[in-house]
Amino acid sequence: MPTFVYMTRCDGCGHCVDICPSDIMHIDKTYRRAYNIEPNMCWECYSCVKACPQNAIDVRGYADFAPLGHSVRVIRDEEKGVIAWRIKFRNGEKDLNLLAPITTKPWGSATPDLRKETAPTQEQRDSQQLYSEPKYIRMDDGDVHTLESNGLKMKVGVYY
């Protein structure tokens, strides 16, 4: 089973249930802890693993091709904006630790609320521009490209 949950670590908080894009992390009614109800619809996307506050979820490679005895663990820290991976090979000969940033800004602080932007003018509405354009396309004040501005002509007829 691609993901599985360690019985002794899970406290049934439901974060994994909330996040799994495949809707396959469910709470077991008897044990009140989570488990993967449909391993053959699991992508090993690690969304649940990253979301579990107890580190209770782990992945065992797919039985149709992956032998036992390896591990790929992850800790994702939104506050610090980093993700840390540890990959251990089956034969114990390789043990990789890798770290990557996940954001450059305090979490969620930099996405704009467009209700607060100055309303677009009629001219903008009639143009080909999108929000933040033309400024965001290029450094000079060039506007959105058109066939004309790019020296292109629509070919007549249908051919290659």
Partner: protein, 627 residues
């Protein structure tokens, strides 16, 4: 029926499916419709839904006009040659001229984009791709959508679009159910932007048993975008243009960064270069316009991806497999080795799990590659999807009916995988298409086109009954048997999915038949799909989770039918390496240098097929452009 009906009324813009396309739509709609009601209905949790759920390590579509790197027309030339001529150049040019602004916004929001220290530009992986630390790509764009939508409904599986009863062929919203509570949700809306994603799992995957979820496109990509639009009667295009991917074996790890940035290359089992050996024969099949290694070399014009697949498939069939990716050289550099691993961890963790499990260290061993089962999508490197209007300043009359990215149904727009003819949009291009659709949808409303929409109680009631039928069917028939899953009156969703995949694989040109099909096979396939449709009326779901799976397989079935109709209609092998028509092996430009368009009549279920003109807006003088 015990489940509550919850009605959300007076919506201006409903976003159905919020992956990269849908989030782009919800975000941009707020700018052009600051006073409008914008609502998202998403099958999973918007924070981790869609093809980008686990993250990406590259943004595959970025012009870099700011850094003097490329112009939109360059991208059109590239996507066109990669797709053997078949693209909607108006839509492509339009996406490409806006995509940079999308990426610059992403950077502002905190997405870590790597920089080229010398040039100051974004670090490129190839001519079109830039490298990112994209583990949180989806949560970041989801923040932007959440902040700007009025309401986000997570865990709603949209099953149908609602149609206006005051005006024919106009959309009026959508319905679906909450996969957790079972509540029936009705969204009455003036416009709908469909972003419900492409289709994995319609062809039998290489993985089996417990591993069957290990497919390349996400297993939750249920082709809903296509089914919703087809069922409503929208015209579709290029549905025959499925894609087969060369990927690391079993794990489906991406190869883009390996080829382009890490400078790895492939060889056969005996350490030989094999690709060019197949070119002379292949050239006879596709003609020199599409395969001219000399020109490609001179101008950096790429060899179409499908043709490179063709070489892998044929080399393996000739008994010289497996194909290996030569990683051992590059991986001696610790920096490149790290990038190689990050590449997986950022977007296909399963590949890292596999190599750890099988002790494959690419530093000491060249890993195996293989070709995948086919996928149907319109944003990655293929152009399946709805036949949409282009922008007013570019599109020729046949491609233009007023509102950018509007389908042939009024008020219904598409984004990302949903839009046909715009391959190589990828994540950034899908988000951009969502933005374009949103601006047009707001204009559509402001122009008064969405006045007086009516939806009767009957339409809602009928849909509700239909939506929950699989639960009812289960209840009625389960006690006829002692226990277990074998029942003479129904199939469960998994059984239906297995049946669909076997059928598509064997008749539609899947992996076990080496991507080969013909008119006879396709006709049998269509007949079998028709019978399967009757059985899908009797699909049984024992709980809400199975109800979700039931609707996913119904959507996959509809998308599959359209794929076979298109494949049968195009009597040529346009994309050798993606599929072959054994009865029409050659690429036939004389008769088939056209786009294919279908429409399924919602009342009769009959398909009408037509050819649509293929306009080339951009010249093909690669040499001049390269100078």
């Amino acid at each position: 029926m015990a489940y509550k009906t919850i009605v959300e009324d007076n919506i201006d813009v409903l976003v159905a499916g919020a992956g990269l396309g849908g989030t782009g739509a919800a975000f941009e709609a707020r700018y052009w419709g600051q006073d409008k009601k914008i609502v998202i209905a998403e099958k999973a949790n918007i924070d981790r839904s869609g093809a980008v759920a686990q993250g990406l390590y590259a943004i595959n579509c970025y012009m870099g006009t700011r850094f003097g790197e490329n112009n939109p027309e360059d991208h059109v030339r590239y996507a066109r040659i990669d797709l053997m001529g078949m693209v909607r150049e108006d839509l492509l040019f339009d996406m490409a001229r806006h995509v940079d602004s999308t990426v610059h916004n992403f950077e502002d929001w905190g997405l870590p984009i790597m920089r080229d220290k010398e040039k100051g530009s974004f670090l490129r992986e190839g001519r079109w791709q830039i490298m990112i630390h994209g583990e949180s790509y989806k949560p970041i764009v989801a923040e932007a959508a959440k902040k700007n939508a009025d309401k986000v409904f997570n865990r709603i599986c949209v099953t149908h679009l609602l149609m206006d009863e005051a005006k024919e062929n106009r959309v009026a919203g959508a319905v679906g159910f909450n996969v957790r509570t079972g509540d029936f949700h009705v969204f009455k809306s003036k416009t709908v932007i469909c972003g419900a994603g492409g289709a994995s799992n319609i062809f039998k995957p290489r993985s089996v048993g417990e591993g069957a979820g290990r497919v390349w496109y996400a297993p939750w990509s249920s082709g809903s975008a296509y089914a919703l639009m087809i069922n409503a009667g929208a015209k579709m295009t290029q549905m025959e243009n499925r894609i087969v991917l060369a990927r690391f074996k079993d794990g489906y790890g991406p190869v883009g960064a390996y080829f382009l940035h890490l400078k790895t290359y492939t060889q056969n089992a005996y350490g030989e270069e094999y690709e060019s050996k197949w070119f002379p024969e292949l050239q006879k099949l596709v003609g020199k316009e599409y395969l001219d290694p000399e020109v490609s070399h001179l101008t950096h014009r790429p060899i179409p991806t499908c043709l490179r697949n063709h070489c892998i498939i044929h080399e393996v069939n000739a008994g010289r497999g497996p194909i290996h990716m030569v990683t051992m050289h590059s991986f001696q550099d610790p920096h490149l080795e790290e990038i190689g691993w990050h590449n997986f961890l950022g977007m296909t963790v399963g590949q890292a799990v596999l190599w750890a499990a099988t002790d494959v260290d690419p530093k000491n061993e060249n890993p195996e590659l293989t070709t995948s089962e086919p996928y149907v999508m319109g944003s990655h490197a293929t152009g399946c999807g709805a036949w949409c209007s282009g922008p007013e300043d570019i599109s020729p009359p046949e491609y233009f009916w007023g509102y950018n990215r509007m389908t042939t149904i009024e008020g219904l727009f598409g984004a990302g995988d949903a839009v046909g003819g715009t391959p190589h949009a990828f994540s950034s291009g899908s988000f951009t298409e969502g933005r374009l659709a949103a601006k047009a949808a707001c204009k559509y409303i402001d122009d008064g086109k969405a006045e007086g929409i009516t939806v009767s109680e009957k339409q809602i009631f009928d849909r509700k009954e239909e939506v929950f039928k699989p639960l009812e069917h289960y209840k009625v028939h389960r006690n006829e048997i002692v226990a277990g899953t074998v029942n003479p009156n129904y199939h469960n969703p998994r059984q239906a999915l297995d049946r669909l995949q076997k059928l598509m694989d064997e008749y539609g040109g899947g992996v076990t038949v080496n991507y080969m099909t013909n008119d006879k096979l396709l006709s049998i396939g269509l007949k079998k799909l028709k019978i399967m449709e009757e059985d899908l009326e009797k699909i049984a779901a024992q709980d809400l989770h199975e109800l979700l799976r039931a609707w996913e397989v119904k959507h996959r079935h509809r998308a599959s039918e359209c794929v076979l109709q298109h494949t049968l209609f195009r009597k040529e092998t346009r994309w050798p390496g993606y599929y072959y028509r054994g009865d029409a092996m050659k690429l036939d430009d004389e008769n088939w240098h056209v786009l294919t368009v279908s429409r399924r009549d919602p009342k009769t279920g009959e398909y009408t097929m037509e050819k649509a003109p293929l306009y080339h807006l951009v010249d093909d003088d690669e040499v001049a452009a390269a100078e």
